[in-house]
Each structure stands twice: as C-alpha cells, then as structure tokens.
C-alpha cells in the first residue's frame, strides 16, 4: 500500500519535475505554485474531506485563472490513510522533491501534528481545514501553519455553551480514543464546568473500528446525565446517534454532537438527526455567496460541501491572493500577507488570521430541521445563532503558542531564527 501511494504521488508529480529541471529563478520558486491536498481519500473521513477537498482546492485554483504571478498553479492530492507516518512520509517527499508550496486539509489531528513540523522546517505552509485539536495553534504551533476552518475550542464553546445555557448542566462523554476526541472532550468539559455544569463521567471507544456503541450508550444512560456529549466524528458519530435512538435513550437524555458535519446529517436522515444542535463554520444556505459557491461544488461532486471542503477552497483562495499580493511564493512573505489581509469570500466575512496561525471568523450554532421543515434536498439546518469571531475562537493570549511574536523565544519555537 505504501509503495502504491508513493508511486501514485510520483506519477502525479511528473509534470512538476520537468518544470523543476531549470533551476529556481524569479519570484516563484520552481516556476510553479504547487498545492498538495493531503487527506483521507478513502477511509472514515473521506466523505467529509477526501476527494471533495481536492475538488474544492481545484475550484479555488480555477477561480484564480489557473495562474498566479504569471506562473501556473498546480493542485495535487494524496491519501494519508489516517496514518501519521504515511502523512509525514508523503509530506516529506512533496516538500523535498516535488516542490509543493502548501499542504492543505490534513483531516484528523494526528496527521496534522505529524506534517506541520516537516513542512515548517523547510518553510512550507500548511493550511489546515480538517483537524480540530487546539494544540495546532497552541503548544504545537509553527510560524507557517494556518488553522483555517474550526477548532475544538470553537466547537466546545459553540455547542457546549449553548446547551448548558438551555439547562443541560450534567454531561457524560462518549469519546473517540485519540488526540482529537480527548482534546474535544477536555475543551468541552472545561466549558461545561465554567458555566456551572457537571461532568459525570466518560467512555473512551477505539476509533476507527467501533461499530457497536450500545454498551457505551448504556453507561451514559446509567450515569443519569442530562446530556450525552459525542466527542467523536464521522461514522462514529453517525452510529452513536443511530443507536441512541434505537435504545430509546433520546427520550430522557439529549445528545450533543460536538463535531457533526452536513455529510453525517445527510446519511443519518432528518428523522434521526432532527432537533440536534451543532456548531459549524459553514452552511451552504447562508447567503447568496455561499449558495452560489455551494451550487458549483454540488454540480461537480453531487454533494453539498462540508465545512472542511468549503474551508479548503477558501484557504487556497486566500493563500493565492497572498502570493499575488506578496509578489512571491516565499513562505515568510506569504504568511505575513495572509495575516495582514482579511478573508472576505463565500466562506467568511472579515476573517482574520492571528499571529498564532488561527483563522478567527464567525461560527454558526445551528439546529437540524425536522423532516417536515425541510423544503429541498440538503435543506437541513436552521441557523440559531451567528457566533462572532471574538466569541467563537480563543484569544491569542490564551493559546500559549510559542511561535507568536509576543512570546517569540528562539528556544521555545524551534522554527524561528533558522
């Protein structure tokens, strides 16, 4: 499998090699601006990210006319199979041999945390849309990372805060047993406790690989908590919700899906998912710009975009505008421009990338519609509240990212001064 991936990547990159032959000259290194979408193409998260993310990146390149600073924009993709070591191997190859300037998406926090240092050491930019852990712009931050779409803090505060305010003050967590799930549980538990709520316990499940959640649900039921928080994603969330309905748990207790994508709601069906609150960075039916872009995405993929896919397109667009404005694809100059320019497109209004690399923009607390409220296919959400950027994401001071200028300290940030 590794060999297969490697040769696929090799095949994809042959075009780039020919260009690379005449040494780097001018302002764009290797005479091409190359964007690599590295994500889960075939596994658990491939519907919410995967080929749709690759398509979204291609759309962003096309919107730019396929060229920036007179040089071609090339978009390539690879499957990291949700494995950190596969992700870092592909990233190393892309950076060392194939002139990839920016690595995009990286769904699942463990792959993101593996790739970020590989890219940063060689001054390549990572634009993260899929992963959620707050460590990305916290203690594990780099000067070359943008965490673009959402993070666990935003999910915890958006959904957790709203639910506690509505009286859901005792929680039990069903948590995916890896970096992302544990970090999401910790962040949400902190929000619940800060709001005066109580956490009664948690159950960790292996992920991926768990299909039967009934025993975890039963423990959650026995805890008597008002709210069962699902600190998992994708298939795990889908099966948890489905089986919670089956066991009649939703009659007395409520579920809070902490990371639910529109692709999950689509496959669960509104009859099962109705009434659930969730926090999202993007909903296609929000305004004219989002509808227009989502319609184009739908025409190409036959699915409406998840927030991860929309975030990939917006991030790549912002990156290309920054390259244009900086007049070079040099990572330091491009990062400075990305931080300087606000994001104003179909995805975000006046989004700002902070010195820690976190993209702060409005998030949306939505509620899943009941079947009779839904007028058209993919008409799934009611926007309950627009959470302004300042409330949606943590302030820079709270992040403790050693690579922000305020903390800049060459000993703590391994990428500065090199």
């Amino acid at each position: 499998m590794h060999r297969w991936i490697a040769s696929a990547v090799l095949a994809l990159s042959l075009g780039g090699r020919a260009l690379a032959a005449d040494a780097a000259k001018g302002k764009v290194s290797d005479d091409v601006v190359k964007i690599g979408v590295l994500t889960d193409m075939t596994g658990y998260y491939s519907d919410l990210s995967g080929p749709g993310s690759l398509e979204a990146a291609k759309m962003a390149a096309e919107d730019f006319g396929g060229k920036v600073l007179g040089k071609p924009i090339e978009v390539v993709g690879a499957d990291h199979q949700l494995k950190a070591e596969v992700a870092s191997t592909v990233a190393r190859k892309w950076v060392d041999e194939e002139h990839v300037d920016a690595i995009v998406d990286l769904v699942s926090s463990s792959t993101a945390l593996a790739v970020m240092p590989v890219a940063a050491q060689k001054k390549r930019i990572t634009l993260l849309s899929g992963p959620g852990t707050t460590a990305i712009t916290g203690e594990k931050c780099t000067p070359y990372t943008v965490h673009y779409t959402y993070n666990n803090w935003a999910l915890a505060h958006g959904t957790g805060g709203a639910v506690v305010r509505q009286g859901g003050d005792t929680w039990y967590f069903i948590t995916a047993d890896y970096v992302f799930g544990k970090s999401l549980e910790a962040d949400t538990a902190a929000v619940v406790k800060a709001a005066g709520g109580k956490v009664l316990g948690d159950a960790l499940h292996p992920s991926p690989g768990t299909t039967d959640f009934s025993s975890y649900l039963l423990q959650a039921q026995a805890s008597g908590a008002k709210i069962i928080g699902l600190a998992n994603a994708g298939q795990d969330t889908i099966n948890s919700i489905k089986q919670a309905n089956e066991f009649g748990i939703t009659k007395k207790q409520n579920l809070a899906g902490l990371l639910v994508f529109i692709s999950d709601v689509h496959s669960l069906g509104l009859a099962t998912a109705k009434g659930m609150y969730l926090t999202t960075a993007f909903y296609w039916d929000r305004d004219d710009a989002s509808r227009k872009w989502a319609k184009r995405f739908y025409d190409r993929t036959k699915r409406m975009p998840t927030m991860v896919q929309a975030g990939v397109a917006s991030a790549v667009g912002h990156y290309l505008r920054a390259v244009q404005a900086a007049g070079t694809d040099d990572a330091d100059a491009v990062m400075a421009k990305m931080r300087e320019m606000p994001v104003n497109d179909f995805f975000a209004q006046d989004g700002r990338i902070g010195p820690d690399g976190l993209h702060r923009h409005a998030m949306y607390l939505v509620q899943v519609k009941a079947p009779d409220e839904s007028k058209a296919p993919w008409d799934y959400y009611k926007i309950v509240k627009t959470i302004p950027a300042a409330e949606a994401f943590p302030p820079v001071d709270e992040q403790r990212c050693p690579c922000t200028p305020a903390y800049a300290d060459a000993t703590k940030c391994p990428y500065l001064g090199k």
């Binding site: 075939t42 596994g43 658990y44 998260y45 491939s46 519907d47 919410l48 995967g50 047993d177 159950a203 960790l204 292996p206 991926p208 690989g209 768990t210 299909t211 039967d212 009934s214 025993s215 975890y216 039963l218 423990q219 039921q221 026995a222 994708g234 298939q235 889908i238 099966n239 489905k242 089986q243 089956e246 066991f247 009649g248 748990i249 692709s263 999950d264 689509h266 496959s267 669960l268 069906g269 099962t272 699915r303």
Partner: protein, 288 residues
C-alpha cells in the same frame, strides 16, 4: 451495579448472535472446502447493501429483503466458487485466503467508489420498532428479534448438518472427499452449494444488521477480524464450536465492557492466544 452487568451481558448476547451467524458460515465453508473465506465481511456488507438498494430503488421492504438479498449474494458466491475457488482446489489453503482477501478489497472498493463512505441509514421495520423496558435495560424490539432469529438459523443449520442425510454427506466430505465421490456423490456440486450457502448466511447477517448499523462499504471489515478469532477459538470448521464460541465471545466482551471497557476490543484476541497455547485445534476442533 447488577443492573449494569445485566445490561452489558444482554448487549453481549446480541453481538454474540451476530458473531455466531457469521462464524457459522465461515466454519461451514472451511469445514468442507478448506477455504478461509476472507470475503465473508464483504459479503455481509453486500447483504446489507442489497437490502438498502432494494428499499431505495425498488421499494422492496425488509421482510422480502431477508430472503432476496441472501439469495442474490449466495448466487454471486456460487459464481465465485465456480469461476475461481474451484481452480485452487488441492492447493495450499493460503491461495484461497489470498483470493478471497483480494475479492473483499475489490468488492469493498467498488461499493466505496459508488456510494461513498458515510453509508446510508436503513429504517427498522415498523413491526419491530419500539422496545421493552426490562427494568435493568431498555431492549429494542429489533435486537430481541435478532437474537431470536439468529438462534433459530443457527439451530436449523446445526440440525441439518449434524442430524440429516444431507448433513452426513457434508460431514463425510469434510473427512474424506475422495471416498465420498467413490460412493457416487456429486462432490463438486456439493462444494458449490455449500459455498453459496455459507455466503448467503453472511448476507443474511448483513440484512439483519442493516437497521442497527449504518449500511456502509466497510461495515464488514471491522467485524471480520473478531469473527475470525471466534472461528479459531471454536476450532476451524467446527459448526458447534462456531455457534457456542460466537455467543460466548459476545458475552465475554459484554462482561469486559462492564469491568474494564478499554480491554473489550482486545479481550477476544487474548482468549484466542490462550486457547491456541492450550488447545491448538480450538475448543471444539480436532487436529487433522
């Protein structure tokens, strides 16, 4: 406390019923054909998917799907036996394992390509919706139905194989197929039908699972490892072993989930290792 134990044990029994159904098919196939059918998980998935497709595109409901989907998947099994497995007869069982493993990857890949990865929901049939409040746990009616039906299917399969003339031929074929052929029994045909039946059992389990789990291309791959462990513990090829171990492992898993949840996903493999150390042929198996 007691409530929690009973709850987990009941869930274990339900999961055990699935293990039993799946490992039964595997055991029957291995017993006669010497084929380690790695495509079993994919065939289970096909059963669930056909049920879903029938409902989605043709309006075929659950009760019909319960018969039609296994029949259709069983037919593909018959084709696979005729076209591929037959050619591997007499070779090391490793060849059959590799062939069926490859088939599983192809089948799962094809479904993944056509239907994506998140899968689709399948509604619980109206007659089996709702559930019983047993006091210590809420038992969904559908799960009770699963236990009941798999119990029946397992009993009938055991009865046919152990207590009827047809079963006697099958068992004789397991022991010495040449001798059986010398008695004028059409052994190749028996092989084909047996493989088809084993595969149909997998698909049947798939239809049973459709309303519980998300119908997705990889639903079988997460289950198949446990099921193989069950067959190894029970003794490769032993019908009784497969059934008893299937239910037993479900219960042990349930109990582990009560005692120490993180160990629940590995306990079956620990038991497998222990059993192999003490009884290499499995609990109910005989060394050949």
């Amino acid at each position: 406390m007691i409530q929690a134990i009973f709850g987990q044990l009941l869930l274990g029994l339900i999961n055990g019923s699935f293990y039993a159904l799946l490992s039964l098919g595997l055991a029957i196939i291995f017993g006669l054909l010497d084929v380690v059918n790695f495509a079993h998980g994919a065939q289970y998935m096909m059963g669930a998917f056909l049920a879903w497709m029938g409902l989605q595109y043709l309006g075929v409901g659950y009760w019909w799907a319960l018969f039609l989907a296994p029949a259709a998947v069983g037919l593909t099994g018959i084709l696979i036996e005729r076209l591929f497995l037959r050619r591997l007869q007499g070779l090391d069982p490793l060849y059959g394992l590799l062939l069926t493993f490859g088939l599983a990857l192809i089948i799962e890949g094809a479904f993944h390509r056509a239907y994506g990865n998140s899968g689709n929901g399948y509604p619980v049939p109206a007659a089996l919706a709702g559930g019983f409040d047993l006091g210590f746990v809420y038992l969904p009616r559908y799960r009770a139905w699963v236990v009941l039906v798999s119990g029946m299917v397992c009993f009938v399969s055991w009865f046919v194989i152990e207590r009827t003339r047809l079963g006697a031929y099958l068992r004789a074929g397991t022991e010495n197929r040449r001798l059986l052929q010398a008695f004028g029994i059409n052994v190749p045909l028996m092989f084909t039908i047996t493989y088809g039946f084993g595969v149909a059992l997998a698909a049947f389990a798939g239809v049973m699972a459709a309303p519980i789990y998300q119908v997705s291309p990889h639903m079988g791959s997460s289950l198949i490892m446990v099921v193989f462990a069950v067959v190894v513990i029970g003794g490769m090829g032993s019908i009784m072993g497969a059934i008893v171990t299937g239910v037993g492992i479900g219960l042990v898993e349930g109990f582990t989930k009560f005692l120490y949840p993180p160990a629940a996903s590995v306990v079956v493999f620990v038991i497998m290792a222990l059993v192999l150390l003490v009884r290499p042929a499995g609990l109910f198996g005989r060394l050949r």
